[in-house]
Amino acid sequence: MMETLQLLFQGFTVSLAPINLLWAAVGVTIGTAIGVLPGIGPSLTVALLLPVTSALEPTAAFIMFGGIYYGAMYGGSTTSILLNTPGESGAIVTAIDGHAMARKGRGAQALATAAIGSFVAGTIATLAMTFVAPAMVSFALLFGPAEYFGLMVLAFVTVTAVLGENLALGMASLMLGLTLGLVGIDNQTGAARLTFGIPELLDGIDVVIVAVGLFAIGEALYQASRYRHEKEEIYALKGSLWMSREDWSRSWKPWLRGTAIGYPIGSLPAGGSEIPTFLSYVVEKRLAKKPEEFGHGAIEAVAGPEAANNASAAGVLTPLLALGLPTSATAAIMLAAFQQYGLQPGPLLFENDPQLVWGMIASLYIGNVFLLLLNLPMAGIWVKLLLVPKPWLYGGILAFATLGAYSLNNNIVDLVLLWLIGIGGFGMRLLNVPVAPCIVGIILGPMAEQHFRRALAISQGDLSVFYNPMTHPLAVSLLVIAAAFLLVPVVLRLRRA
């Protein structure tokens, strides 16, 4: 502990050098910008910058990369909230209530709780990375396919929080998502499913395409269809731009809970950023005093998932720095960057290059402060975007969403898909079918299926991996928690009645 503090202190002396501070500032600014643009993620940005940075000192380069990575997580929420266009999959959940808040004229508060929540989560999670990384990694290694399947089932409980008033329509939306999730090569057998001979579908449909199609395109088409019939409501700016006392008191607990959910799941090799945001959403809805506000602009539903998203970003760096395990696209490219500098990322990195590792970790703390300073004042400026007259605003959203979808894979088929799904989303809106269950289905369905089948392949078809607490205590616990999540509210309601 003392030793860690000492090393961290040394790290701060490295990262507080004026030139390194400058690189951190450059990194977070670039990161925020690419987070705002859908389709361009931190991994591509770091790849583009790699040749340019080869002339830089490695410490400076990694300080900048860390800033880009954290910055992108902050930026992703901005378009989710204001334009209903999630830039990356971790920001999809934020769009549900964040955009609803923006439409009620509370966009500035949504952006503020997202920024402060990201700061709180980023800082706590970086602290966790500093002090408990080795323990966290040992925990992560306990997760095999059976355990992941348990986690996916638990995350599926989220569906209950987004089904909407009509159960049948909610389930229909979920089934649509599960079906879209089937598209592509089946990983265990190599067989192509629902691809209709189109090679571009072999990798499946990108979640961001579905989310942007259903949310942004669907919404824009719907607004266009109503434009002549309804008088224009102006979204932006009602009352103060700052978070009220009530906003603060409703936000701080979700920030902390989101962090507690996001960091451990982010550090799992197959955890990702979507599952913690889902879990945070359902937890907040269950604990909220006014659960009926969820889906219509509840601030907890922005605060929690945004914190979870940022905490999971720090989680991803934990196995990378502690063990050299790349668990996301960005981590993989950072691994390549380590190699470019002739560094051996892995268990020995902390011993061999303490200055670099601790300098980078220290700069993550500083980057978080920079990001807060950058994003909080920006919230007031960003919401002015909503003052743009609707036809122009939605025209802009359509152009922006289309551009982003194309830049994901430089692929025309993605554009066709985006618009087909967008038209589908428009239809769903007309018929009052909720779109969120569809998103949950397409993200979790394929993951749950893969882990389920992997677990059974390893056990050679023995189903006990899911119920035998002696051999798989963690998997069984997760499944039990999931069951409790589903059944406890039902039991309570029955007892009350």
Binding site: V46, A47, I185, P199, L323, S328, Q339, Y341, Q450, I458
Partner: protein
């Protein structure tokens, strides 16, 4: 006479200045049929740097086109002709994807320019695994093939090929392999380290840190001879005829003129002989397996046939 002499001298001068050692390739575009960060992308980006630094090309751009194991990038490269010079990176994994995805476009539709770099693949088990040697593992595999789970990055990947070759060499039917797909390098390593799958593999460059730190144990490696400075026996040494090079290469359009092909070949030849290229390959832990165009085309064909046969035995193809 004097006038003629002047003309000759002027012409000689013009020639001398117009043809330096090498004509620079302008506005070269390199397609990496993969997302940023992978082997194809890294090869493309190192080429970009070295070609420009050596003055062999200018205005070099790298375009990422991921999808379907690289076959999307390949198909677009072959079908969308450009006026400016273009190159494509690819390799053994893409050969596998062409076959498993039944791609209508293959490397036959390109001009294989040169093989560049390679990753040899070790197989690893957890540090506390009961299997201390390759013999231990194979004995168990022969006795009860299903009880050994083999983690790999996708059906028809180089990982899958390696396991198939090993099963054949050990006399076990390749279709009996209990192959478990783990999609990312991180998932693979944590799956092996956590004891969730028995065996894992990947490029030596990706696994060396964990092998050196003793987090996983390498039982054998797919190189023809021991790699310098790497204390891992080869499959050959252990008596298994398993030879797998996860090679990466560069391809050019098929219908170039002979002199255009020659120009590109010369540029690549100069590139791979430069100090910067050698240093970059070494830094990433790859092996330099340069093979010029003359032999390379035949090699690609051989690898295609070998992979196709193997996939039939693995049960991936009917």
């Amino acid at each position: 006479m004097k006038k003629a002499m002047t003309i000759v001298a002027a012409a000689a001068l013009a020639l001398a200045s117009a043809s330096p050692a090498f004509a620079e390739i302008k506005r070269l575009e390199i397609t990496a049929p993969a997302a940023a960060g992978g082997g194809y992308d890294q090869n493309a980006r190192i080429m970009q740097q070295v070609l420009q630094k050596e003055g062999l090309a200018s205005g070099v751009q790298v375009v990422n086109q991921p999808g379907a194991g690289g076959t999307i990038g390949l198909a677009n490269y072959v079908n969308n002709k450009k006026r400016t010079p273009t190159l494509l990176t690819g390799g053994l994994a893409l050969v596998g994807a062409i076959i498993t995805n039944k791609s209508t476009v293959t490397f036959e539709d390109t001009y294989p320019l040169a093989r560049l770099s390679a990753d040899y693949q070790p197989i690893v088990v957890a540090a506390d695994s009961p299997y201390k040697t390759l013999e231990d593992l194979i004995a168990k595999f022969k006795a009860d093939p299903g009880s050994v789970s083999w983690g790999g990055s996708g059906p028809g990947s180089t990982d899958h090929m390696l396991y198939g070759l090993l099963a054949k060499a050990a006399g076990v039917e390749p279709s009996k392999i209990n192959y478990v797909v783990l999609t990312s390098g991180g998932e693979m390593l944590s799956g092996v380290m956590g004891g969730h799958v028995t065996v894992g593999t990947g490029g030596y460059s990706e696994l060396s840190a964990q092998i050196n730190a003793g987090k996983v144990r390498a039982l054998a490696i797919s190189s023809p001879e021991r790699l310098p400075g790497v204390d891992v026996p080869t499959f050959k040494e252990k008596g298994y005829d398993v030879n797998l090079v996860n090679w990466r290469a560069v391809f050019a359009p098929k219908d170039l003129k002979a002199e255009e092909k020659q120009e590109l070949e010369q540029a690549i030849d100069k590139m791979v002989k430069s100090e910067d290229w050698k240093a970059a390959v070494k830094q990433r832990g790859w092996s330099d397996v340069y093979m010029p165009a003359a032999e390379f085309a035949a090699f690609v064909k051989q690898e295609h046939v070998r992979a196709e046969t193997l996939f039939k035995e693995l049960g991936l193809l009917k």
